[in-house]
Structure formats: C-alpha cells, structure tokens
Point group: D2
Chain length 467, copies 4
C-alpha cells in the first residue's frame, strides 16, 4: 500500500461545497480525498501486475517498476493527462506507464477494464475509512453514551410521550436507548463495509479478456484481490452488483438518523422551559449576534441540519441500483459523492461525541419538572392495580377522576386519597406495601429503568471490548 | 391464531388509492388488510391474558373467555367504538371486554400500553406476510430467472455498456446477474423480517406497569412474546427501536430496485430496433387505443412506474426513525402505509414472474444485432494480446485503427487482416490458435459467460432448495 | 358534465391503503375516486364527438347518443371490459360504443389517442377538485388563522429561537406568519391548477390523426377543449409537458410542509412544561390506553405524520418528468397516485381547521413563561441602545454581564440597575423615556408585533374576499 | 458592491466534494463561493450603515469608513475570527469593526440580527447568480435547441412510444418539445429568483430592535433593502418565509429534470442499434480504457448522473420549510448547500449546450429506422379514415389485420392492398387523394410536425429576444 501522509488541512474559500470549507475530517483524507482515490486506484493497478508476476508471466523486476511507478502517482498529473484523453482511468494508466521501461508498459492495466479498478479501489478505501476512522469514531461516541448512561442511571426524569409527561424513567435509561441503537449500528456499518466487493471480470463481466490468457480467470481475479485483502463479487457486469453498496449506504444513513433523533431529544430537553440538559459553552463563544444571553444547542442543530441534507442521498443510491444491461454510466458522477456522505457523517459523530462528553445535565431542573406532574402520574399504576385486583373498569374510573381533577383544579392524588367509594377502597386495600409505594410515590414508579440502563451499558461495553 | 379466511376480492371504485382498486394481492389480505391488522392485535391481547394465566394469576377459564372474544373481533366494530373513544387500541380493548365476564374484564390489556400491542402485531404480521407469501413469491421469480438463465446460457448476445455494443456475452449470463442479485435479496428480506421485534415494556419502556406485579417483568415479556413466536427488543421506549424496521423496509425497497433494473433492461431490449425480447401478448389484448400494431412492454413499464412511486417511501422510514424522547406519535399514520408497500412490491414480483416465464426471446434478432458489430469488437482481444506479447502501446495502436476504420468506412477486422506493419505482425504471430480464434471469431470471445451463468444458477438453486 | 352524486362513504376493511379506510374526504369523491375518473374520461370522449358535430361532420342526433352513453358509463363495466382488452381506454371506448347506433360508433374516440383522454380528464378533475373543494377548504383554514391572529394579536408571548427564549412577540404575531405563508399558497395552488393543460394532439403529438381530416387540427383541439373550459398545451408528445403538473404537485406539497411546520409549533407549545396551547379534547376521548391523564396533540401529530408519508412523493413527480422520446409508460401507475396526495392533503387541511378553531390558548401559562425570562431579555435592547448612543463595544459588554449574571445567579436587570461604571451610565442617561421603558419593561419590547399581525390579517382577508 | 474578480480556478485534490474538484463553474465564483458569500454579507452590513446615514443618524464619513472596511473583508479573516467567537456573523462584524474608528464601531450591524444579514445576502447573490450567469447559460442552451429544431424540422423520424415505433414525426419536432419546456423554465427560474426576499426585522421578526430607534421600522427595512435593489418579506420570523426559496429550488430542480429527460432521449437514440444521434468525439478522446472502438454518450450520461445526485435535494428543501417557532437553526448547514446545487445545475446546462451544438444527427440511420416500420404504421391512419367514413368497428378490423400480418410475416400494407372485402373497400374508396397519400405513404403522415416545430422555435426566439 502506498505510503500516505495525512494531508494538512488548509481551507480554500474559493470552494463551493461547504463540505470542503466547513466539515472536513482531516483523518479521512487518506481514504476519501480525490488524491487518496487516485492512490487507491494505482494500488489496484499494481496488484494486477503482481498477479501476472505470481503467475510467472511478468518478470519480478518489471513488476517492481510498475509497483514503484504506481506508488508515486499524484492526482494532479492524472488530471492533467485526463485533459488530453478525456478518460480518467486511461489517464492513470498512461501516467503509470510513463515511468516504466518498454518491457513493463504492456502489463500496466493488462486485461483490466476501468471499473475493475474503480470498483475495487472504492471498496478498498471505504472499507479502510470505516475500519480505521469511522468505526473508531463511532465507538468513541458509544463509549461517551455508555458513560453518560452509567452516570445518570439513577437520575430521576419524567418520561415523555407526545411531548407530554407520561411515566417516570431515569435519564440514564433514556440514554441507554441510544447505546443500544448505536451499538447495533456499529456492527452493521462494519458488517456492510466488509461485504463490499471488488472485481477483475472485464468490460462486461464475463472475463472475456482474462479468459484470453488464463484457463481459470476467476482464479486470477481471486488471487489479485487477495493481494488487496478483498473478495470478488459472485458475478458482475462491468460493475459489481450494487446492492452491497446500497446496504452500506443504508447502514450509514440509518446511523445518521439515530444521531438526528438524539439531537432532537437534546434540543428539546434544552428548551428554556425544560432546561434539563445544556450544551456546554465556553466564555468566548457568542450565542447570538444580537442576543448575548442566549445558550443555543448549536451542535445538536448543526448535526440535525446536516442529516437533512444528506439523508435524501439514499434516494440517489436506489436510483444508482439501476444500470442498463451490462452497465450504463449514469451512476458514475453520482457515486463520486459517497465519500462526502461518509465524511460528513463522521464529522457529525465526532462533534456529538464532544458534546455528549461535556453535556451539562441539570438534575435540579429534571427533578422540578418531575415534581410538577408527580401527582397526576399515579393514574397509570392506580388503574393497573385496581384492574389487577379485579376492578372491571378501572381505566374508565381513573380517566374520569383525571378529568375531575382537571376541572376542580386538584391533583389526582388528592382526589384519590379522599376517595370514599367503598368498591374502589376495597380494591385499594389489597395493594401490597410496595405496590402502594410505587403508586403513590412517583419516584418509586420507575419500573426497572436503572437496572435496564446498566444492563444495556454492560452488554455493549462487552461487545466493544470484543471488537 | 384466529382463523382467517382469504377475503374475496371485490373492487370498490369509490376508493381513491390505486393500491386498492388495481394492485391488490388477495393472498396478502390475511396479513396486511386493516381487518387482518385488527385480528393480529387481538391475538396479542389474547397472548397477554394467557401470560397471566401461565403465571397463575388469571384463571384458565377467564383466559379462555378473553381468547375467544379476541378471536371474534372484527374491524368494523372496533372502528365503531373508535368513533366514541377516539383511540384505536382502547376501542379494541373495549370490544374484547364487552364479550367477557366481569371477572375477566380487568385482565384485558392489563399492564400493556397501546404500542406494546401495535408494535408486536405489526412485527408478527409482517413476518407472516413475508414468510407465507412474499418469500414464496420471490422464490417463484428466482426460479423463473434460474430457468431462463439455464435455457439461454449459450444464447449469444452482444454485451452493452453505455448503450453501445461492447463485448460478447450470452443472454443467460445477463439473466444470471439477476439470479444472483435477487437470490441475495431473498435471504436479506427474510433475515430482516426475522429481526423485527415485539415488546411488552409499557408506556415509556421501563416496565413501570409490569414491575408493579412481577419481580422480573422482562421474563413476563419474554414469555408472552414466546407464545407468539416473537422476541422482545433489547430495550425499547414506548416503541421498539426503529432500525430493524428501517432495515426491513430497506431490504424490500432494494429488492424493488432490482425489479426496476430488470424492467429497464427488458424494455430496452424490446425496443423496435433491438427486438431481442418481447412480452408475450394474447390475441385479445389491445396494444394501443389508436395504434393496433403496437406491442408494448406494459408489465415492465408498470412495475418500473410503481417503483417510482414507492421507492421514495424510504425517506419516510428515515423520517420515522426520529421519535422524540420516549416517543412522539408522528410515526403513527406514516407507518400505517408499510403494508401497502409490501403489497405493491409483491404484486410486482408476481407480475414479473409471469412475464419472465413467458418472455419471448428472439434469438434471430439477438444474433443479427451481434453480427452487426462482430467485426469491431475484435478491438479488445487484439489490444490485450498485443500487449500480452509485448506491444508497448497496443491500446493506442488499436484505438487509431478503429478511427481509421470508421473514417474509411471499413471494418476493423479488414484493416487488421490487411496489416503489414512488421512490428505488429511479429506480436500477432505469437497468438496461440485458440487466442487467434477468440480474437477473430467474436462468437468465441464470450469469456466464461456460459459457465458462469450455469454456476450461478446451480448455486442459487441449491440455496433455494435449502430454504 | 355527467351528473354525479356524492358517494356515500362506507368503509371496507379488506382494503390495504389507510387512505381508503382512514383518510377519505367524501367531498372529493366526485373528482378523485376511480369512479369519478371514469366519468371525466367519458366526458372528454363526449366533447370530442361534440367537436365533430360542431364541424358539421357528425349529425347532432348521433352526437347526442354518444353524449348520453358517455354520461352513463360506470367504472365497474369499464373494468370488466378491461379484463378482456387489457387496455383501459379501449375498454371505455367499447363501453360507450356498445350503447350507440352503428352510425354513431365510428365517431367514438375518433382521432384521439388514449392519453388525449387521460391527460385532459386529469387536468379537468384536478382543477375541479382544487376549485370546488381544496381551495374552499384552504380558505377555511386561512380564515381560522386570521381569526386566531386577530384574537391573540396582543397576547404577550416569548419569542423563541433555537428553542430558547429570545425576544418578546405576541401570539397573534406568531400565527400571522402562517396567515401570510398559507395565503400565498392558496394563490399558488389555484394558479398552478389553472395552468394544467389538456391535449388532442394524437399518438405522438404531431396531430397525425386529426390532420387526416382537418386542415387546422390545432383549431379542432382548441375547440374541443374549449367545450371543457380547458386549454391545450403549447406542444405535446403523447402526453402534455410534465412541468405544469410538477409545479402543481410542488404547490400542494409546499403547502403541506407549512401545515407540518404549524403542527410542530403547536406540538411543542403543548409540551407539558410549556403548556401555552392545547388541542381541545372531548370528555369521551381517551388520551392513552394506559395513561388516562394524558392530553395528546393527536391532530398535530397525525398531520405531521401524513406529511412524512406524502412529502417524498415529490421525488416521484421529478422521476415522472422523464419520459423517453414521444413517451414511455413508466409514469402511468405512478401518476395514478396523485389523487391520493390531493385527498390526504385536503383531509389534513380540514382537520387542522377544526383544531385551529378550537385551539385552547393558555394566556396565563404564556405570561408565566414570559415572566421567567423577562429579566434577561433586556440584553438586546440594552446593547442596541448603548451602541446607538456610542458605546464602541456594547455587545461584548452585555455578553459579559450576562455571563456574570449567570455565574452569580442574579438577573441581568439587577446587575444593570446596580451598574456604577461611569462610561456605561453616561450612555444610559441618553436613553429617552420610551426607550428606557422598552429596555427595562420586557412587555413593552414587542416591536410592532401587534400592528404587523393585524396588518397581515387585514391584507389576507381582503385577498380572500376578492377571490 | 465590492469589486470582485473572477477567482482563478485551481484544483485542490485534497478536497472531498467532487463539486469542487470536477464540476466548478468559474463564472459563478463571484456569487456562490464561500468567499463571495462573505462579500455579500459585508455588502449588506454596509447598506445598513448607509441606512442610518440616510436617516441623519450616522455621519457620512463614519458610514464611508464602514463601507470601505466592509468592501475589504476576506473570508479567511472572518473564519479566523470565528475560531474565537464560534459565531460566523459576530466574526464578520468584529472584522469590519476592527478597521473603523471608535465612533463608527457602534453602527456596525446595529439593530440587525445575524439572519437579517444571511437571508438578505443569500437572496441577493442567488438573484445575481441567476441573472448574470445561469439565465444567460440557460438561454444559450435554448438557442442551441432552437437552432437544432429549425435545422431538423423536416428530418423524418419515427416517433416512439413505449420504446416502440409509433407514428411519424420529424426530429425537429422532437427537439421542439424541449424548446418549449426549457423556455418555460427560463421564465420560471427568473421569476422565482426575483421573488426571493430579504429582511431587516430583527431577532424574532417583530422589529423589536429597530422599533427602539425608529417610529416606522418597516420603512427603515424597506430603505436599506432598496439600496440593495431587494424587497422585504411581507412578514418574517428570524428568517424570511421559506416558500419563495422552496419555489426557487423547485424551479431549478424541475429544469434539471428536463435536462435528464433530454439526456435519456439522446442516450437511447445513440444506442448502437438505433444510431440516430451521436455525441461528437475528438480524435484524442478515449472511449473506453479497454474497448477502443466505443463511442459513448458521456455528456448525456454525466448530466443524468448528476441529476440523480442533486434531484433528491428537493426533499431537504421541504424539510427546511419547517422551523420551530420564531426559528430553529436546523436549516443552517443544509441551506449552505444551495449554491452547490446551482453550480452543478449550471455546469450541466453549459455541458449540454456544447453537446447540443455539436450533436451529430445521422439522417441516413433515421430514415432507415423509419423505413423498417413504414409499412405497419399505416394502421392508425387506416383505422381513423375507415371510422371517419363510417366503418363501425375499424379499430378491431385493423388490429386483427395487424395480427394476421404478424403471423403471416407480411406487411400490413400488403394485406390491405390485397383486401377484397367489399365493405372495407367501399369505405376506402371514399378516401380523398391526399388522405390516401397520407395513409399509404408513411412519410406524408407526419401531421403538422414540421410547422409546429417552426412555430415553437419562432415563439421562443421572440420571447428570448424580449428578455
């Protein structure tokens, strides 16, 4: 593999894509920049030459010439040559050939078609980007959430459905949902990138070219790809079957959607009236150009916004699943944008990791919000226990009491404690001590929230440790 | 499981959705109609009652009452009740309760929240729909394509890239691509539906309600779901984590996109000028209301069109991955449309099965199209073998010859056969007999198309037989 | 126009599409049901016959036969015939012909191609649906919002940006945004539906058929369409140019997005902690199957959810803008779903009208929320007036004070009132009485919110009255 | 307006977005690059200062200082400052302030909120980009198509529906469809960009800040925007109503879809078997890295591919129509990508202009394709004239003859010329000389294709000349 150095990040403001001037992840340059892509393609060309050498067809010295030339290729020279040839891979081939002896020249790109190189190089670099940067970054976020889950596993919070106070949970339990969902996605992204495939099957996938010189052209394909630690597609046209890429993109966008969900949760918990969490800001930071007192959830807003931009790219992927006959080229430009998606996704992952690690949790506000509803949420345990002990229509009974409480501006608890209906009282008498506590002390009505939070955190920590 | 009879299909033209008046698959009624949904929800309610009985809490007779009442529920009565309650699950509960004794009433829906029922019922019925109808239908299409692959594995066809004649393949090889892609999707759809999960974890997922009455509420959840042959989510809010559903929808839409690709391929092969395949039409069928001679690829057009309608629904799924806090309800109406997607997909699968089984392959036209380019496609083998035997710039040599041929209105073969350049001839002399044949007889330059087609067909037949 | 009676709504639970079993708008049956579509197509066929009669080619009696037969066509008989012909328009033609004399038969559908009928009928019925139902329903919502704007124009509310308290507005001012956005869309939807076009230009749009019998076939097209109060496209293929339909769909979906925005606003204002608005519920209504105390914003959630389902259909429309050559048929099935979009949109409009008319506004809570921040929002006016009177770095000064307030747990007002810095005091002395009031009494710092709300309400009322 | 020089295009291969390294349109740098954006924002800041001067509040000299400082702002310094403030507009303000005297400082950005600047600057620059580059480029393509329409107005071509030969047209007529569709979009894009609006209404849109110092803050807003030749929104929150932007994006994407349609048409007409058109290639150009004989429609493929990437961005726009309350920030990052869409669209327009101007039309192949079906397409005129002269079931008669022709491997013409059925002959005798010619000489059965093509070309030329 050609040696690559992390390119120094310098911003060029004559650029148009915000990805380049705002959301670059330097660590991904070695895999996802256009420069890196050229390197990867050259690496595939080198592997093909090595394949011929391993078959005893190309002298080792000549192969070494090709490998060395390939390792030196730079994007700029390939683009210059493309100006002349109007064909990117032929340009690459010409550049490699320009630095090798006459005897080596014929073996550059021999038997290969452009997309043998492109498909294989893409599979390789996406896999590398995933394994070397994206998965580690995803794991870092998972660890941040595991930590948060553990730290807040007993922190009482009001569970909310429909934006309404519902039943008690703990804040750690709420975060544990993300630990579970995100953990599953780490495995899926890794698995999906693993299933990307290369090829060396020629212009229409039938090994027409390699069958000219090998009895078993599939073996040659396998051997070359093995040099790259890659496997061939079961069958291909000019391109590999698009579904593994579709699955990979899906795994990334589905993960992205989880981030969007988390951001929405945090944004709303940071609302002035709710105030249960807050993005930590530094003293120098300006919240608003005109409202100096504002504390805005800008990371959560920014990630949600990038999701809105990139999520619809899944439609492009489905459009690109269609390629006429042995291939049309209408997926070429569109698939060039896959690295951008990966990079912006990773950018969001790392931003959220920082925010999650530094998240300010306002337990006082959490408890105050909880307290504001604790008298009404007894409705559920009450109705359930009344039913459990035989009340034939407990739900309706409680629902009416709730309306009564609302109309009389009393708490449900007050009404229930003042209940004198004999039938109801007869059921209530059967409540155990513990049941009575869980019913009338809302803080105790958290189910198994804390245990579950811990269990989920433990499970995923074990999984991560095993990766 | 409540007994269900396949509902007789009757078309109601006062309906608005073309799905209902044009694309209904009767076999899916038992799983995907609104009537079926109500049955499945009632089945989950019955399982909960049985769970209490298995715990020794509810008398077996009372449980049987609930089960019997649940098995009789009809959608119409639930909707009537919903008019009053404005809540669909409470309506269902009321209907079930209305037919049981006072002692059984409290145990209907006890400890459950609406979405315990809805999520579990949906997972159940989608799994059933997949296993009982969709997978068998997908397999039938796979078999049709395997047959076609085998029948046409040696049928010479010109491979096409960019819509241009490229290099030779066989028609069976072209179809084998679909065998491979579709086969993979059969496994993925099945796998994704298998991973759908149910829940019995209460209003905010913390088992608040069940923890009132059970020491190990997760065990109770597991037991009830086991009665339904379903597993619980690792952790849930009011709803199960949305990613398994996202993966399932993705597997279906990705499969749908393969159908769209196949349709485009066939549509273009049926173009008047190409004429290599044709949808079989019956004598009575009208091709055009005003052009009686037309033979239109209406199935291929129809399926492509339905894909254009339903593919973007993947965006809805990603939007639905976001649910605030322990759940907001903005995924309720949208997720109601999942059955429609499944049904239209299945409709397309079966339509294409019929069309594939009856596909008219015009071998004469295939061969004529092939012949029109056979003299030019020698360019590739020639360039490769020249390189292989040491020509340092064979690609450029052949490219120029091709332009010369074009300009002089000759075939490339003519020019090459008349070649008198000593250097070129010296390389050509080294071609083996077989290589010469593959170069100058385009019919022989099909690589391993036929073998690969057969190999793929064999592989997937074995897989299907093992399902 | 054929007499149509509003079809009685009866729900068939064997259907699959929730549109049919949950979201039907009965008033749209006459335009958007499949039955209605058949009527409209028959109406176009009748107009063509009348066109021949007006040209003196077809005897008035024979034309009357055709018109009468057309007016009696029912969808069921057309579908029966389609079973035989496999072609929907030829089926319609056969049905019309079956009821006229031999001399009239040849003039049914004469010179027309299927899509002359389909395109024209769709343009007609969508225009009718818009003018007769959708625009009136949109106006009703606009009036509800105008009323709300007026009623609440002086109701003090804290303006929110980033979910954070920002600067004061009035609730009427917030609603006036919707009055303005929605009002603009009413005009756009009407305008876009007006620009839908019909055609009578034949199988490939070149008037091949009509040029056989008319010297000026464009005149014949114009005349027939005029009978239907419709205009022809400037030029067409087998279909009209798709952009007017794309613009129409865009106008509807863009309007739908406004509803989604309104729903999100209301959902969040209804959050337990905020509690500024509430969907009115009736006593019988169940908020949750297990939490009787819940008051859920179900209309706002439901509409948002339907938007999530239908918004992505804009992608389908863009896909349908592509039709190969003089037309391929891959837009046929997909465009059949346009009526569904229109109907669900209208369903949402009317649901939100009811909710808006009955919206509970909790002024007490609004004021309490306001009060909780009134001491900090003086930051903005203070900074602006300090700048205005010459402080060179007022923003920074105020920002630091805000942090100080936060750290010392004081209100910004307290700190400012205790300010003893001479420079700052020198600027503050220059504030006018009114400016001082606006700065230190947050209730007065509402800018022109109330006047603007009224102005917008007045403007749109005048526009509506002029429609 | 700050002087801007077209930035020299230099490619930086460490970038990630293909937009930056492959699809840059240099002419758009002055409007759409990040550098340009900073200039435009500075220009708005300068206009605000001028507004204060025009009101007699700010001395002209101080205003000139601000204007001069604003005109010198460079993106790099703003980004440096943003590193410190974490707020892009406050960074810009600080940079402008850093170069003016203490007395001028307070008037920089006075009374404005960030999005007053951002929204106004975006509206301005998009309008400029449209008027100065995009519309001229769209017009150039329209003129290329008008020329093509005129040149080919009489070129006989077989019209195609369903990919099948249908009825005759001319190639100019086919292109005239695009002249009409594209011409309409030029007007719509211009109109939509004209309707973009600016604002100076403050943090929540209620003019809270400007009302501190002006009696009529709307007048101040109008005056400042007039300096920029821009109009204010009727009412705004912290942002302008999003629908005008949605309409603008829609107009661009709808136009893009027309390009995609054109590309598909050309791609298919360039298929080897059809061969009616061809992208002109230069001698140096490589068609395929391994198949030197290929002539690929790479421009048509490339544009279609970019459309697949950018079309789904319409979904982002609809998502961005939703902003909670007086604004959340989740549309900030996403809207930053609008310039990229505009630039890639313009890139495609200019590429297609070149391809259209240089399109190779193979009239010989067109005629040969035509000839292959001319004997069967008499079906339509025959059926119509038979009907016209009274045959009661002409469509069915012709349909059966067509099947007979197919089965007997004869041409329809042969069968009809040999017809001896008295009834049929009696109708045929009534055909006029001209009708007979149009029926039996397919070349004459082009309807009014040529006239219509010319008419459309003339109409749009007049429109363009009037722009």
């Amino acid at each position: 593999m050609p040696k690559k150095t992390t390119m120094e990040q310098k911003i060029d403001f004559s650029t148009f894509s915000p990805t380049d001037y705002r959301y670059v992840v330097a660590a991904l340059s070695d895999y996802l920049s256009e420069e890196a892509f050229v390197h990867y393609k050259a690496e595939v060309e080198a592997a093909i030459a090595r394949g011929f050498t391993n078959k005893g067809i190309l002298h080792d010295n000549l192969c070494a010439e090709i490998e060395q030339s390939a390792s030196k290729v730079r994007a700029a020279e390939v683009y210059d040559e493309e100006q002349r040839t109007k064909h990117d891979i032929r340009a690459l081939v010409n550049v490699i050939k320009s630095r090798v002896s006459t005897d080596a020249k014929p073996f550059v790109h021999l038997c290969a078609t452009s997309y043998d190189i492109v498909e294989t190089a893409n599979a390789l670099r996406y896999k590398d980007a995933v394994n070397k940067v994206i998965i580690p970054d995803m794991i870092a976020l998972e660890r941040a959430w595991i930590d948060l889950t553990r730290r807040e596993k007993d922190t009482l919070q009001m569970g909310r459905t429909h934006g309404q106070h519902a039943e008690p949970i703990t804040f750690g339990f709420a975060i544990a949902q993300y630990v579970n969902r995100w953990g599953s996605q780490i495995l899926k992204v890794r698995d999906a990138s693993d299933k990307l495939r290369g090829q060396l099957s020629g212009a229409v996938g039938a090994y027409n070219a390699t069958a000219l010189v090998f009895n078993d052209p599939e073996e040659f394909e396998r051997d070359v790809l093995t040099l790259l630690e890659m496997k061939p597609a079961a069958i291909s046209t000019q391109i590999v079957p698009p579904e593994p890429m579709s699955d990979f993109i899906h795994s990334v966008i589905t993960s992205f959607s989880i981030l969007a969900n988390f951001c929405d949760d945090m944004r709303h918990l940071q609302r002035t009236e709710i105030g249960e969490v807050m993005e930590r800001v530094t003293e120098g930071q300006v919240g608003s150009s005109t409202m100096p007192h504002k504390r805005n959830p800008i990371t959560f807003e920014g990630v949600k916004s990038l999701w809105k931009k990139f999520m619809p790219q899944i439609v492009t992927m489905h459009l690109d699943q269609i390629s006429e006959h042995q291939r049309d080229l209408t997926n070429s430009a569109s698939q060039r944008y896959i690295p951008e998606l990966l990079m912006v996704f990773d950018h969001c992952v790392t931003r959220l990791t920082r925010s999650s690690e530094r998240l300010v949790v306002n337990k006082t506000k959490m408890r105050a919000n909880f307290a504001s509803s604790e008298d009404t949420i007894i409705a559920e345990p009450l109705y359930i226990l009344l039913s459990y002990y035989g009340h034939p229509d407990a739900h309706e009974y409680v629902r009416k009491k709730t309306f009564q409480a609302y109309n009389e501006n009393k708490s449900l608890r007050e009404l229930i404690e003042a209940e004198d209906d004999e039938e109801v009282l007869s059921y209530m008498k059967r409540f155990t001590q513990e049941q009575r506590a869980m019913t009338f002390d809302a803080e105790k009505y958290t189910g198994i929230a804390a245990e579950k939070a811990e269990k989920v955190a433990d499970y995923w920590e074990r999984v991560l440790n095993g990766l």
